[in-house]
């Protein structure tokens, strides 16, 4: 991963009248990263993307996108970003090709017809290029919308709910495309409600509720919210092992769960793990599997949001 920051914000805020939509957001995104924005409805994700894209102005603070301030130089920022808006609006009476060529012609140095044909082919819509967009399914429109943001081959993408309303296959295809864009070096800010999608695609996840609650890798977010527990599956009864473990000073907590499973909280989950295994073996336990008890990202997300609520 390239290590320089291409998107940064400092105290970025937005108010609509008395309502605070985004509160003092400070964040930095490195080139080539995918950062997922997670948050409930009305958390300020779309407002943040719009401010970064220079479509609306912040009430306070500032942002820098690809070295430029979107509030003062929106058109220059637009040259280097692609913004997939929440609603994939098109001129429905016109063809897909005409729609794309129109948007492509606003960019300097882009051959509109060539760019439109290239992106239609990339998104698997070449055979429908001359059909009116009004005849397209929602999934096809979403693909066409993604084709639109790629016309000028931007280095930075803002994707607002890219898979919302798509069937599972279309959503998977779109996710694969997003991964391929990252491989091409694109930096992506991805707003989504889909936690598994965020976890699958994002290098880091920013949990949002008007203000930034946390930003980290999915794994680190889970660890931050929940202590790392180990699940030890045994071939036979757990009682002897459980009794032995409860006497060990490095075992902070141990309990049986279900049939033949021990859930153990260690003082240091990494360095204490070999001692744990030895102690269970000494107690006569036959270990089938030792693994970390991974809580789903959803739990970490809900925990963060509820903490904020309370």
């Amino acid at each position: 991963m390239i290590d320089h920051v291409v998107i940064s914000t400092e105290g970025l805020s937005k108010r609509f009248g008395d309502r605070v939509a985004v509160d003092a957001l400070t964040v930095a995104v490195r080139a080539g990263e995918i950062v997922g924005l997670l948050g409930p409805n009305g958390a300020g994700k779309t407002t943040t993307l719009r401010m970064l894209a220079g479509i609306i102005a912040p009430s306070a603070g500032r942002a820098v996108v690809d070295g430029r301030n979107p509030a003062s130089e929106p058109e220059r920022v637009h040259e280097s970003i692609g913004f997939l808006t929440e609603s994939p609006g098109f001129y429905e009476r016109l063809s897909a090709e005409r729609n794309l060529a129109y948007f492509a012609a606003f960019y300097e140095g882009v051959d509109a017809q060539v760019a439109a044909a290239r992106e239609l082919a990339r998104l698997g819509l070449a055979d429908r290029a001359r059909d009116k967009v009004g005849t397209f399914s929602k999934g096809m429109k979403q693909r066409l919308a993604l084709a639109r943001v790629l016309l000028h081959e931007p280095r930075i993408l803002f994707l607002d709910e890219p898979t919302a309303g798509l069937d599972p296959e279309a959503a998977r295809n779109l996710r694969e495309l997003i991964v391929s864009l990252r491989e091409r070096g694109c930096t992506i800010l991805l707003s989504t409600h889909n936690l598994s999608e965020a976890e699958e695609l994002s290098d880091r996840i920013a949990v949002f509720r008007t203000r930034l609650l946390a930003i980290d890798t999915p794994k680190a977010l889970r660890e931050r919210q929940f202590e790392r527990r180990l699940r030890v599956r045994l071939a036979d009864g757990v009682e002897p092992s459980l009794a032995a473990l409860r006497e060990e000073p490095y075992v902070r907590e141990a309990r049986a769960e279900g049939d033949g499973v021990l859930v153990v909280l260690l003082a240091d989950p990494d360095s204490d793990r070999p001692r744990l295994v030895s102690r269970i073996v000494q107690a006569g336990g036959r270990i089938l599997e030792v693994r970390e008890d991974e809580r789903p990202l959803e739990d970490a997300y809900l925990s963060l949001v509820r903490e904020e609520e309370s």
Binding site: E75, H78, P88, F90, F103
Partner: protein
């Protein structure tokens, strides 16, 4: 800059071409206005006693001349009516089809977008108006009204058609686009559309009442005044565009 404005113009025209009713409107309304003017110029001198208009109107020819003199101002209604439909819906349609936000995420500047919207309607409106004027004059000559027509085809007429009409048309389109960008829906935009007719009605009222005689110099000055207002209003239109309220309030 010009490339982006022209891009908007071409897209608007592609949209018009994809909507046959738009083309029909562009052709039928001017034809009706021309036919109406020709009909009035023919029928009124035949059946109305010129004496009712006062001592200066002594015969049918003079009565026809009086009617023909109003024609250049009624031609101004053509681009205004075109503006009424195309300009007032220009931005609202973008809002309704959800294309405005993706459009605002491209490097197009607000004034370029608005200028493209205005020109895309004003240019065909003007062409149709000029064609209508030419058609009216041609048919008038064919009907034997040459002597009356030649007395109105003066420098004032040509200044009126080639300078005043574009200036007033632009004003109508700018007002239409302002209304469109401030409207919350298509219905409200149509209600605001009445604004675009006001400048034309003002001119017609001045002409019909005879309060001001339109000499070449006065027509030239009036045209320049309208062009200055156009520039000021276009700047105002950019300020009034309010992209933030458009993208955040339209759901």
């Amino acid at each position: 800059m010009r490339r982006r404005i022209w891009n908007v113009v071409r897209m608007e025209w592609a949209g018009m071409a994809a909507t046959p009713s738009s083309l029909l409107f562009l052709v039928v309304i001017p034809l009706i206005l021309v036919a109406q003017a020709l009909f009035l110029s023919w029928i009124v001198p035949r059946f109305v006693n010129p004496a009712i208009l006062g001592p200066t109107v002594t015969d049918a020819g003079a009565l026809r001349l009086l009617i023909l003199r109003q024609f250049p101002f009624f031609v101004l209604l053509i681009p205004a009516m075109v503006a009424n439909v195309f300009a007032t819906l220009g931005i609202v349609e973008e809002k309704v089809s959800r294309t405005l936000e993706p459009l605002l995420a491209t490097p197009v500047r607000t004034w370029e977008l608005l200028a493209g919207k205005i020109l895309s309607g004003a240019l065909p409106g003007l062409v149709v108006a000029w064609a209508s004027a030419a058609l009216f004059v041609a048919i008038g000559y064919a009907l034997g009204w040459g002597s009356q027509l030649s007395s109105i085809l003066t420098a004032t007429f040509f200044l009126d058609t080639l300078l005043l009409m574009p200036a007033v048309s632009l004003l109508s389109f700018i007002l239409g686009v302002i209304g469109s960008s401030r409207a919350r829906d298509a219905k409200e935009a149509q209600n605001l559309a009445v604004l675009v007719i006001f400048p034309i009605f003002g001119l017609i009222a001045v002409q019909v009442t005879g309060l001001v005689q339109f000499t070449p110099v006065r027509t030239l000055l009036l045209s320049l005044a309208f062009l200055a207002v156009d520039v000021i209003l276009l700047r105002g239109a950019v300020r009034l565009f309010g992209r933030e309220s458009i993208v955040t309030r339209w759901k």
